[in-house]
Symmetry: C2
């Protein structure tokens, strides 16, 4: 395939599930060129079949191993799986992309599995967009479940996790109370809890701690269903089938309760707002030298507040703010 083939010509091969076309489309989306935009818009209309699952947990929680076992279970049930691995945006984590691939090794070469690592280096706010467009591509390409694996820390990661249908939070036993506290920020977004390393004696305590925290939080957070806590031991394959069943049950719950369409709509709206923010940001950068010059001068003199400046920015761009 000619590397200069227009993005639009990739749409049909992507929807037909051709791996090279998918890989190329993913790269085009990541590069975010205007030429890829039209193809992504066309692909978007072919989405909506995949179950999008976010799997999040701190480094060391064993989520990569769990994901690979989960995918194996998914394959056994006759389904195709797309995996998007998001790495923390740090210069110190340079090696982890390779690391993920190695750990995923056994399954990543399976014809019904597509693994993609997203580099976060220099993405600066584009990570959420890029990741969700990658989900669209894999969805359109016919993968039944698209799994996003993240460490769940940082602003983009939170945006990503909030854009999934089902969120699994992986906790490892014995990582200490401090980590539990950090994770408190993401505990409440879990639709399913997985406790990894179930062969460790402390795992039962982690399970019961999670259950009691969920019990406490239930009235406060207004949850309408009990959140399952599943103990797993990936090397032994224990709890993996149960985890997949819990993920499937959550989708079933969403559909039956009518929450599914509401969740999908709020994801679409959030993505639209994020995209609008990006346009705003781009316009600002583009007019730095031109019509934003006055605004920047006033800002640098601190003679106007950021809020007043925001209204002038929008006025500069032509937006009529009515209050």
């Amino acid at each position: 395939m000619d590397p200069r083939v227009p993005s639009l010509e990739l749409v049909e091969p992507v929807c037909a599930g051709e791996r090279r076309a998918i890989a190329r489309m993913l790269s085009r989306a990541e590069a975010a060129g205007p030429e890829a935009r039209e193809a992504l818009d066309l692909l978007y209309r072919r989405t909506g079949r995949a179950h999008v699952v976010g799997i999040t947990g701190v480094p060391g929680s064993g989520k990569s191993t769990l994901v690979s076992k989960l995918v194996a279970a998914l394959l056994e049930s006759g389904r195709k799986a797309g995996i998007i691995a998001v790495d923390p945006s740090s210069p110190y984590s340079g090696g982890s992309i390779l690391g993920d691939r190695i750990r995923m090794g056994e399954i990543s070469s399976h014809p019904s599995v597509f693994v993609r690592s997203m580099a976060t280096h220099g993405a600066l706010g584009g990570l959420a967009r890029g990741t969700l467009e990658a989900v669209d591509i894999l969805d359109a390409a016919g993968y039944d479940m698209v799994i996003i694996e993240t460490v769940g820390v940082g602003q983009d990661e939170v945006d990503v996790v909030r854009a999934t249908h089902t969120t699994v939070v992986v906790s490892a036993p014995g990582l200490g109370d401090d980590i539990q506290a950090i994770k408190a920020g993401i505990l409440e977004i879990a639709d399913v809890h997985a406790v990894s390393k179930g062969d460790k004696p402390e795992s039962d305590r982690t399970v019961s701690e999670l259950k009691s925290m969920l019990g406490l939080g239930l009235p406060a957070t207004g949850l309408r269903r009990a959140v399952p806590v599943i103990k797993t031991c990936s090397p032994r394959g224990e709890g993996v089938a149960e985890l997949l069943a819990a993920i499937d049950a959550h989708r079933q719950y969403l559909v039956t309760s009518g929450e599914y369409e509401g969740r999908r709509q709020s994801i679409r709206e959030r993505r639209m707002l994020k995209a609008a923010e990006q346009v705003l940001h781009d316009e600002f950068e583009r007019h730095r030298q031109g019509r934003m010059a006055d605004l920047l001068a006033e800002l640098s003199g601190a003679s106007i507040s950021p809020h007043t400046a925001a209204r002038r920015l929008l006025a500069h761009i032509g937006m009529e703010v009515t209050r």
Copy 2:
């Protein structure tokens, strides 16, 4: 003071440093009423004196104790300190506001210290705005240093930390390699590193690990100065004077190198863009029933992509997007 006194009448008392006026203005800002907006705009012109310092570290890193000792050192040098404590947005952390106040107890009643806890519950994106407006108020009220204490996790927290002049990252020894990896995401934003619990034997290893990580990261991150790593032991008061000296030296460096004005300008621009996003978001919500109805229908049918929807949203609002 009449609780219904207009916000505008609070501006002068705030600038005169009257505690009750400051407390009231902080509450008005947090409530974000349109009436407070005008007062905040006026107060903003009186800002620019304070050194804004972000102190961040995972729960259990001992940063609250370190902050209280740092403030004591600041008082000794004849300076006034404002402290804004940002708590993680979790239903499980309900008790920590009180906790902060108790730990801060000794110093929070000092006439030259003002402590404010920001509740994150239900703030949903407003935390960064509210916190930075609280900084403006304390700056205008004449506090020489305004310290924002955060756990450094989550999207709003990152926004807050990026809006400070000097960022101190607190690491505790012996919290395990996993935590170090989580913190990797914030390691690179540190202007000064503090290692707490310096009486623990592992603290020397943490110091040398940080130094070697910084050594590795230096060329990659394009840092123009060596980032100091300071070992502290708050209960014994060890390293606290050194930490204050390092924070002061960083401000001096910013001013001498000319980076200070650039940093302040980029903070102003980011705050403006954030405020503009908020206006966009509010307009969208406000017109849900009216002129956004078509857009929402198209979105729910998935017949247009979030990106196309974003351009229509901006067009609906009247913004002329030229590309």
